[in-house]
């Protein structure tokens, strides 16, 4: 177990080094930050001086190692846009993104698993057909369009829910939460659905096909032959066996939820790290972009590690083989 964790942490460092390298290679194509940093009145000489001072003329490997050396000390520099320290900026924006990601992941898992089971058990019913066909919308429509459709329906036409922002946030000192106010919760509904819809559909379809697979197995037939109730068959014998693929996909999807919150956050003006990143790209704010990409890389690695470890708790066979190896 310890070995696996250490092994994974080592891999994580490699992945992060690689992410940083790729992002530095990409930055050269994003544009020149000096354009945005200086007013249109700046002379060519002043521009050249600023480029030099920012180290933009250094070879890419020098810039890369300079960044790494600072990053290991958690010094990501100051944002070009607004001049605030990057670490502080990201820390102030992270709660908004994590609350949104968590809410939409919960929405996706709860609705996905239950609707998946329902549609597997009640094959061919009217409700099942309705769920299955309407779920195609979730996978086929792009996120921004779903967001705008929801805004149009629930904000403009029905006037039920706010179209943008995070509502009232309560400052807990180290964390600004939208969970504790009515307007905060209302503001969460549309972005969470928008962000989670694709994942929900995916989880629902996966649960359904796994469930159909499992229900054909001999031990289910045996359980039925023993006269167990439907509830016991579905939830105590079938469900645990479909959880491994669902957790794998669900876990990986949580990473994408955090990473792809960018689009949802832009549509809903959700003040999280995704919006921060988009603005950084427009502004060619290299310190913020590189720190964000490292953060997302780290989130993916961490989630994968947690997913791997969770197998041991869910699947007894894995636990046993691990014990045998060590013995």
């Amino acid at each position: 177990m310890t070995f696996i964790i250490l092994n994974r942490l080592f891999q994580a460092v490699l992945v992060l080094l690689f992410v940083a390298l790729i992002s530095f290679l990409i930055f050269r194509f994003v544009g020149n930050p000096v354009e945005n940093l200086m007013g249109q009145e700046a002379t060519l000489a002043q521009r050249a001086a600023l480029e030099e001072a920012l180290g933009l003329n250094d070879p890419i490997h020098i810039q890369y190692f300079d960044f790494l050396w600072k990053a290991v000390r958690f010094d990501f520099g100051n944002s070009y846009r607004g001049a605030l320290p990057v670490a502080e900026l990201i820390a102030s924006r992270l709660p908004a993104t994590l609350e949104l990601a968590l809410t939409s992941a919960l929405f996706a898992v709860i609705f996905g698993v239950f609707m998946g089971i329902y549609t597997a058990i009640n094959r061919g019913s009217v409700i099942t057909n309705f769920i299955l066909s309407s779920s195609l919308i979730g996978v086929s429509l792009p996120t921004f369009l779903i967001g705008i459709l929801l805004i149009w329906l629930f904000s403009v036409e029905l006037n039920w829910l706010p179209s943008f922002g995070r509502g009232e946030v309560v400052d807990l000192g180290w964390w600004k939460t939208g969970f504790l106010s009515e307007s905060g919760l209302k503001s969460l509904v549309l972005p969470a659905i928008t962000l989670g819809l694709y994942q929900m559909t995916l989880i629902m379809r996966l649960t359904r096909s796994e469930m159909l697979e499992v229900l054909r197995q001999d031990y289910i037939r045996l359980a039925r032959a023993l006269g167990l109730t439907n509830k016991a068959v579905y939830f105590f014998h079938a469900l645990p066996n479909i959880l491994i693929p669902v957790i794998t996909i669900g876990g990986l999807q949580l990473g994408s939820v955090i990473a792809f919150a960018i689009i949802t956050e832009t549509v809903f003006q959700w003040p999280g790290v995704g919006l921060l990143f988009i603005n950084a790209v427009y502004f060619v704010d290299i310190p913020v972009m590189s720190a964000y990409l490292l953060l997302v890389g780290f989130a993916f690695v961490l989630i994968n590690l947690i997913v791997d470890l969770s197998y041991f708790f869910i699947d007894p066979r894995l636990r046993d083989s691990e014990l045998k190896d060590e013995a």
Partner: protein, 514 residues
């Protein structure tokens, strides 16, 4: 005009003396970058600063220069190199300290310091001196008749507050600095900063000790400013009543806003001209006949009608109508004439046309990429095969400015409202300190000399003659193909009365309610 405005403002104030507290929820596409008023020279940043900080003089909602913290200004009769400003008395900063000439000296010097993005506008200033507590002299290197035009975004800070909080210079991005003034303010303006979360929400409340209380309507007691980047969401927020006024209404949604029973649209010409630039040194566009052919092959009226949905003013000169030097004759755009254009191409020896790349931004001007797409089709009609290369502005500007582009799009606003600002950056030969936005290769020593002479010519008639001469040279050379001036649209609640300001800078002390 000003008198009329002040009188009507006074009447409105009197009749609304009992009006209740009014909050205005305001949204636009981008947030201010920093609250430090000298650290950035950018529209949304200045707009928010204008609510909190004042300038010596500024532009009203119609674009005319009016007194603000200075009540009078004039060049000294015995020395045209010195501008004398008489300051308004009884003005206090939000923290209660008095506004005096030492704050002006401090602020102008701060705006000229390293790290300031405003310093270019003050490059002619030699020294700023306090004559007494409410008179300030600004001495320039040689006479500078344009100095006051450069002060309309030059904000005044409190010397004592800046020293106490160690913000005596703007934060210098190159040095990775950050400072207290980035998130905190102490101005003399109509509104005080209550709270600010970047990209999220900024709350301002009316300044109870505002010096302009009896001058402007001041009916707004609170401003809640929320940037909303997505244009569809911004319009939705206005339609659903979550905000009261938005800037940057996308042209495709204008109909929806004006059709709503509770909303109205205010429209006015913007101080920004859109045009194409051409390489005058290399390639086919070095031939004047080719440039002339391209100029009349652009159908400006159909760009206005189809691409801009009527929201533009086609023009024949790269100068918005507010600018000193503008004439109706220059503004007259050339007749669209395909046959003449083809004949010119033939004369130039390009009857079979040629291939060229058009560099275009896709996130800077209203429908920028669509205008370029339209131009591709129009050029094809005279045999020019255009490959469109549309990029975000951060990538487009280095290409457009670096001289790598043969054919590119650019837009230009004129904050000083004077032709010199266009000439200095777009017409003067490209040198280390001038012509930074002129990659066309156009270089004319006589024109250069005339441009420099504008900076110190105090005889305004003579100066205007020189401006007209330079424009004549520019119109002949045709290194730029003007397209149109942009039009500004603000969407707002029907009971709000608010003129669209040509620099896209709403000043909320002017806002009134029906």
């Amino acid at each position: 005009m000003i008198k009329h405005l002040l009188i009507s403002a006074a009447i409105v104030t009197a009749s609304f003396a009992t009006a209740s507290a009014e909050t205005v929820r305001w949204a636009r596409a981008g947030d201010s970058i920093t609250m430090d008023p000298h650290a950035q020279n950018e529209g949304p940043t200045h707009t928010l600063s204008h609510q909190i900080y004042d300038t010596l003089l500024h532009r009203d909602m119609a674009g005319a220069i009016i007194p603000s913290l200075a009540t009078e200004w004039a060049a000294l009769s015995d020395n045209p190199n010195v501008w004398r400003f008489t300051l308004r008395k009884g003005v206090v900063f939000h923290d209660g300290s008095d506004f005096t000439s030492e704050d002006v000296v401090f602020s102008l010097n701060r705006a000229m310091a390293d790290g300031s993005e405003m310093k270019e506008l003050l490059s002619s200033v030699k020294e700023v001196r306090a004559v007494d507590s409410h008179i300030v002299d600004v001495e320039t290197n040689g006479a500078n008749p344009l100095l006051i035009n450069n002060l309309t975004n030059m904000f005044m800070m409190d010397k004592g507050w800046s020293e106490d909080n160690k913000v005596t210079t703007p934060h210098d991005v190159a040095k990775g600095e950050t400072n207290f003034a980035t998130m905190n303010t102490n101005g003399t303006g109509a509104f005080m900063l209550v709270s600010r979360a970047v990209d999220e929400k900024t709350i301002l409340k009316a300044n109870p000790n505002y010096w302009g209380k009896d001058i402007y309507p001041n009916q707004v007691t609170e401003i809640i400013y929320t940037p909303i980047q997505s244009s569809a969401t911004r319009v939705a927020a206005l339609l659903s009543g979550e905000v009261d006024i938005i800037q940057d209404v996308p042209v495709q949604d204008l109909g929806r806003v004006s059709a709503s029973a509770d909303l109205q649209l205010a429209t006015a010409a913007q101080n920004r001209v859109i045009f194409f630039g051409l390489d005058t040194v290399n390639g086919p566009t070095a031939n004047l006949k080719v440039r002339q052919a391209m100029n009349i092959a652009i159908n400006r009226d159909s760009i206005k009608k189809i691409v801009m949905r009527g929201q533009s003013d086609p023009t024949g000169v790269i100068m918005p109508p507010f600018v000193n030097g503008w004439t109706e004759a220059l503004n007259q755009h050339p007749q669209y004439d395909l046959n003449k254009a083809k004949a010119l191409m033939k004369d130039a020896g390009y009857s079979n046309g040629f291939d060229i790349v058009l560099n275009c931004p896709n996130d800077r001007y209203v429908n920028d990429e669509s205008i370029c797409q339209a131009a591709v089709g129009m050029m094809a009609k005279i045999g020019i095969t255009v490959t469109l290369d549309a990029k975000p502005k951060a990538q487009h500007f280095p290409i457009a400015k670096g001289g790598e582009a043969d054919f590119y799009m650019l837009g230009w606003g004129v904050p000083t409202f004077d032709s010199h600002y266009i000439f200095n950056y777009l017409v003067h030969s490209q040198t280390n300190d001038r012509g930074s936005w002129n990659p066309t290769g156009y270089s004319n020593a006589d024109v250069d000399a005339m441009i420099v002479s504008l900076e110190s010519e105090t005889d305004l008639t003579k100066r205007d003659d020189t401006i007209a001469k330079i424009w004549a040279a520019v119109q002949v050379a045709q290194m730029y193909l003007p397209i149109h001036n942009q039009v500004l649209n603000w969407g707002m609640r029907k009971d709000i009365m608010f003129d669209v300001q040509p620099e896209d800078t709403p000043l909320f002390q002017f806002l009134t309610f029906k």
